[in-house]
Symmetry: C2
Subunit: 196 residues, 2 copies
């Protein structure tokens, strides 16, 4: 976190000095990435003077989903469990809202060595709303070295495998199913009555 701000400040300083600077961010810089850090750091008056181009990337929701099957074929919510910048009460409220709306839920930054509680709390909330058998996909180091893909259920989610900050977790909605090892959310509820 502190490093992110330092990197952004360094990039801005170099740009102020007239250099062309490229700031690299993993995944999509616009989703919990460096794009927002740069825009928040720049003063309003500087935005016109220092031209910025944000180049979108493939966010962890997309790269992880592609390894699990097709879990994001219906509406979904993306929630970061890092309570460093967002109050845990707000995070919990969002998990409840996402459950009430039957959204597929994608968790970013689920857990770190020191931060375990939000992950356990998320599980408790979801167990109140969703069936214990709800499919859950856990992807670590998606499309990188030591990639690991696990499909489990909500009930077994906490014990299924080691979770860290490089892990993305996708929790299915009420219609998500496992088929031939793939996690799939049907595109439409209406398809049930009238399957393709």
């Amino acid at each position: 976190m502190t490093q992110e701000v330092q990197r952004a400040e360094e990039a801005i300083e170099k740009a102020r000095a007239g250099k062309n600077v490229c700031l690299v961010s993993s995944g999509d810089p616009g989703i919990y990435g460096m794009a927002g850090v740069i825009l928040e750091l720049l003063k309003k008056t500087e935005i016109g003077k220092i031209p910025i181009e944000i180049i979108p990337g493939i966010t962890a929701a997309s790269s992880s989903a592609s390894l699990l099957g097709a879990p994001l074929m219906n509406d979904f919510a993306v929630i970061s469990l890092s309570d460093l910048l967002t109050d845990s009460k707000i995070i919990e409220k969002r998990i409840r809202s996402a459950c009430q709306g039957d959204f597929v839920i994608v968790f970013y930054n689920p857990k770190s060595k020191k931060r375990i509680k939000p992950w356990q709390k998320a599980w408790q909330i979801m167990m109140r709303y969703r069936s214990p058998g709800t499919p859950v996909g856990i992807v670590r180091n998606a499309r990188r070295a030591n990639e690991e893909v696990t499909i489990t259920s909500l009930k077994d989610m906490l014990a299924a495998r080691e979770i860290d900050m490089g892990t993305t977790v996708i929790v299915g909605n009420s219609k998500t199913f496992i088929k031939g090892g793939y996690m799939v959310t049907p595109r439409g509820y209406k398809m049930e009555k009238n399957p393709l």
Copy 2:
């Protein structure tokens, strides 16, 4: 929609005949795209026999956000307003839930020539929960020919510009702001007290 199924069936047929087939999908095939159509069409017994690789792409949420600024730096919900496959009651419930959770909301397929009601209804619901001044970003043909980017407010959203199926709409949360022509959602609520 019918064309999508036809295309997927054709691809599967060619794969059954032993060909290597690449099925191209715009944006990310895993987000309302062709990946799910293929997996839903394949019978369980065929999934092992016909190996599939899903290659993730840049979804409209990412490409549109990159043109608006950094609206997705905090938790967000992605909702398709197409009621072709999902019941409008479920869509409306999701919009309410997303509002209750103060999610940034990204709308896919907001409106077509024949389907105008879900878009008007979405606006009515959001006006009940969010301030009329909430920033709204409208992006048409993101990163394509005839790209159009508009930043407006929730109040003026309906009249702001022509909306079609190639348009993505991003509605800010309670903290989203406009700064120097950019739409930005702060990464954390805690940053307000202790800005970077």
